[in-house]
Symmetry: C2
Subunit: 394 residues, 2 copies
């Protein structure tokens, strides 16, 4: 493969992987659906949309964080092989809330290796219908032991980042409500969203403080759901109208927030974005739409800066002036984001890409934007111990 450009120590290998199909289940409190049901629906949906026989699939990837902790079900590779009745390699990846993005990234590497031409990727999580304590404790397995033992929750950790951000950049508490309001508005056009209804700033500001300055309606919910993709070596598919993955980059940093150089930005996401732009031969200015990991409202603001779309300390102004809304200059989280579409953790990274594919293919229904060309998905694990960036182009 041709080398695109050198980025210090990183060699930007060009890549081009075709997305043949994508599918998202409804996200929400799906008490009547098991993890297996969700995985099965998403995989079949993606395979159907890809229009290929399932026997063509040579390798599969399952992104999941919590089924070991919550349902005592590990070994999801074999579970998928059983569900789909396919004898192929199936790899389970886990990277906290970036488990789905990691599954996509590993599938890309598998295709780039030349060993496999058709890959199925599914991200899935079953989180509701369980004791709240068990879910909270399971979620904290993505943090360091010291953070767990100090009694932190993830909203507590992100609240530290928010506090510092507010103090450093003149951002107001009310600004933190903006991403939630925008994302709920987008979700109101998405029938697959967990909360398909709008919110007002007043409603967000009137909701309970969970960890100062973050309020209940600035936090992503506990959700069930799955999403799947069929990826392929573009030389093995014959169709003009394809969407391609042009960059797939994972980057890790320390697990513990206290070991980071700064907490008003996420270093792993910055590094991943830089490498992804290099790999795709594109820059922030080329992006038509973005799906970012808004696990908490502050996370969306920080993400837009880490991705180089806005300068440090300025993204909240873009949230204020509306340019990141549907109809604005560069819409962010048209799916409704983690906040309003829902956040079944293992599914999120895959769902982001499904949303971008739907937008690029012009079939996003009432939330369709006008003629998008390039989309970026930004998936984060924990407080940024893992960050995964994908860039798609049609």
């Amino acid at each position: 493969m041709p080398v695109f450009k050198k980025l210090s120590s990183f060699t930007c290998l060009k890549m081009k992987i075709a997305v043949l199909g994508g599918y998202q289940t409804k996200f929400g409190e799906l008490w009547y659906k098991s993890l297996e049901d969700l995985i099965f629906e998403a995989c079949l949906g993606a395979i159907k949309e890809a229009g290929i026989d399932k026997k063509k699939i040579e390798i599969a990837f399952v992104g999941n964080k919590l089924s070991g902790n919550l349902s005592n079900q590990n070994h999801l590779g074999a579970l998928l092989a059983e569900l789909l009745q396919i004898n192929i390699p199936v790899v389970r990846t886990e990277a906290a809330c970036a488990s789905g993005g990691m599954a996509v990234a590993q599938a890309c590497l598998a295709i780039q290796s030349g060993q496999y031409d058709f890959a199925l990727v599914v991200g899935a999580e079953k989180m509701t219908d369980l004791p709240a304590e068990q879910v909270s404790s399971g979620l904290m397995s993505a943090a360091s032991l010291a953070e767990q033992q100090s009694g932190f929750s993830f909203v507590g950790l992100y609240a530290l980042m928010a506090k510092r951000y507010l103090a450093d950049f003149g951002c107001q508490e009310q600004d933190l409500a903006q991403p939630a309001v925008k994302n709920h508005w987008h979700a109101s056009f998405n029938p697959k969203a967990q909360f398909p209804f709008p919110l007002t700033i007043d409603k967000v500001m009137g909701s309970s403080l969970i960890a100062e300055p973050l309020r209940l309606l600035e936090c992503s919910p506990i959700s069930d759901g799955a999403a799947a993709l069929v990826l392929a070596n573009p030389r093995k598919v014959f169709s003009e109208k394809q969407v391609f993955i042009k960059a797939s980059i994972q980057q890790n940093d320390s697990l513990s927030l206290c070991k980071r150089e700064k907490i008003t930005g996420i270093k792993s996401a910055k590094m991943a974005a830089k490498k992804a732009y290099c790999q795709a031969g594109l820059g922030p200015q080329d992006l038509s739409l973005i799906e970012v990991h808004d696990c908490f409202s502050i996370a969306e603001i920080i993400a837009l800066e880490d991705l180089g779309i806005y300068k440090t300390g300025e993204a909240y102004l873009a949230e204020r002036n509306g340019e990141v809304k549907l109809g604005g200059k560069r819409p962010v989280n048209l799916s409704g984001g983690l906040k309003a579409c829902g956040h079944p953790v293992g599914a999120t990274g895959v769902k982001q890409i499904v949303e971008i594919v739907n937008q690029l293919k012009g079939r996003a229904g009432r939330r369709q934007m006008v003629n998008p060309l390039v989309g970026l998905a930004h998936n984060v694990g924990g407080t940024g111990g893992t960050a995964i960036v994908h860039i798609l182009q049609k």
Copy 2:
């Protein structure tokens, strides 16, 4: 890369990945060592042996099954980044007891992709020093829900396979004791082994029945431990005396034992072996030594047949006549195997390869065999829902 040969629907891409370093920690009940300690020791050991600066490593993989269930610690990619203070992508793979083999296989794909030249792989598990019930329940997370709810343990599931094997092939209960005795003998030469002492057939046969016909001393133990490898694109390293991975194949099958066509063999292992021979351009006759997944004594016997080394129903005869012992025609489990070296589940698949590398490099100490050229590692998840085969050559 050149295509080696077509195997029905599978394209055997040739591969060649250099193993620069390998390291295994002591396996055992290491109450004074945490999962982090084990990972750290193994990684540093492998990097030191590889003789490279850790900054050369571009991607890392962590194979682990149980840390989410047992220690509420997921997100091991970020944990490793923190421990080693490296900002690279780190992928966690999970496939029950094949989590380590999966990590190696994914690292091979990453190098084959051309995106990464140097990869670190670590497999690790911390299983002791916890309530027995929690460990037993955690281990069963590798089985299907129906198997869990029926009250099965893994020894129970493998006992079904053993019963059928005894009934079909004239194998005696005493033959099941042979692999355990052989592997303990090998372990007596391995200072890293959990049980570095010999056993007699009488001692095995006198141990308690756990699930008829399997006895306590035919079962692999609960262990702590880690193993690590540094892998590289051979075009990026300059040394004549290398050991190479010539095949790396994963194959899945149904999670549930009851959904298999046969239970006296493991289909996923058979398929993986066939593809691996094809990829390496080698056959069973070329193997100097083999590390197989002897989680229970019957599993070693079945493995040797699945790998095409002995005909169906005949491997136990080779155990009887001693040709699989050190000094025999083709030694199996020189490390001591899972039975006697120990079975920290996430570490096992990596440790098998470390053992083969040590043998091929002629530094296996008192258990060194004479001039081995080719080794095969066979790593299984659950009852065969996942099987991973690696072939190494010097």
